[in-house]
């Protein structure tokens, strides 16, 4: 997966959680939870979807790395290189 594919994947997962999510003014370097209507349970939905779709088992200590769209992409890029 390219970096763009990974961004699209994250946004697609978020859209599945909330089809009213507004990505137009999303700053990729600011925390997703501050910009979108996401709570801790929604965040865990993202982790679960990555597990279901790509068999990724993300350890809890790595969750902070999923905070922004850019940090998500950085973290997932090596893990989804072959995907």
């Amino acid at each position: 997966m390219t970096r763009n594919d990974i961004k699209d994947l994250i946004l697609e997962i978020i859209e599945d959680i909330d089809d009213e999510a507004d990505f137009d003014s999303l700053d990729p370097d600011q925390p997703l939870r501050d910009q979108l209507d996401l709570d801790s349970m929604d965040f865990l939905d993202i982790v679960m979807e990555l597990r279901k779709r790509h068999k990724l088992q993300i350890p809890e200590e790595d969750y902070p790395q999923l905070a922004t769209l850019t940090s998500c992409t950085n973290y997932l890029e090596p893990l989804l290189k072959e995907a």
């Binding site: 959680i17 089809d19 009213e20 349970m41 929604d42 679960m48 279901k52 088992q57």
Partner: protein
Amino acid sequence: MLSDNQRVVITGVGLVSPNASHLSEYREKLLRGQSEIQRIDLRYFGSAPAGICTFEETRYRKKKENKKGTRAGCIGVYCAHEALKDAGLADDFYRKDRTGVYIGLTEHGTVETENEIYNIKGYDYDVSYWTHHHNPRTVLNNPAGEITMSLGITGPHYSIGAACAAGNASLIQGLQMLRLGDVDMAIAGGISESTGSFGIFASFKAQGALGEADDPTKACRPFDINRNGIVVSEGGCLYILETLDKALARGATIQGEIVGYGMNSDAKDLVLPFGERQAECMQLALDRAGLEPDDVDIISTHATGTKQGDIEECKAIRSLFATSSNTYINNTKSIIGHAMGAAGVLELAGNLGSFRDGLIHPTINVDELDPSCHLDNLVLDKAVKRENITTILNNSFGMVGINSTIIVHKYSG
């Protein structure tokens, strides 16, 4: 005579039933005997008649919240907002910390658990795929809690587990909390999401108690000689309860006053009902209300369409009301199926309109009356007009031997 701050009145009703999403629509369809029971397909189980509710699920809550929560929560949020609207109450009229939410449930968590086991089956039962939503969805206070989150209510909320007597039991809980002065307003009633569970259908079938018919609208037929069981429905019905003094002070429209109630236990059998104890329960409610059997205009029966259940209730009614020539009897389940925790409150709500329109809605699907279910003044097929209907007695009984009766009186100042 109770003082006005001890008298508890119904000032609003919000509901979804398998044939309506509003009280007036529901009343019209009950008067016409219009059933919308349909066939549904259940995972593993296959096809069965069932009552499914259609309503505007996103009227009061975003789709995102509905996905995160439960079907019971979705129904509950809709009914609670509709009840407040029906009561003419802004959601901040009463203090949020002085409002209580009491929800009757037959069961909760069955649907969510079945769904989750089905989900992890797709991952070879690897429990790391088990959802983090499972616990908040299945805690027993879930539907009540989802209502408080939607309305910002910070007073008490909890569920009343009382099998199919739960709707009535929640009204009793609300009434008692108002009388104790613990809350200023109660949102009380019942909810069922049971149609989402194949296990509930399979269990009734294994028990020989699941209603069936080629035409699903004829599957639920209490008192008919050929009745063959229960039709499972989903639904919800929540009432706004206030003390009379507060309701009068704000100029509320009073839909009825809860004047009597009774609850007791059979202490006898896990599933089979027991008429003798049901009669005692009705008597308890009459005694609390200070009424004689002949004062009751309508008995809204619990009868579900099972062989013994219907006979037991009819025996119980005959034992108390044999000489009550003014008492008419009907059954709402014949039209909407058995909405479990919501059944008692939906059935009562369907009869409240009698205070205004003087009509008693019919029981349908009795093609041939079972002689064991004979009751004088059983209202069949067509609504009956009566002058001056003032008193409704509403029965709701449940598994493991739990009985409840509520008596509501027309308020006339």
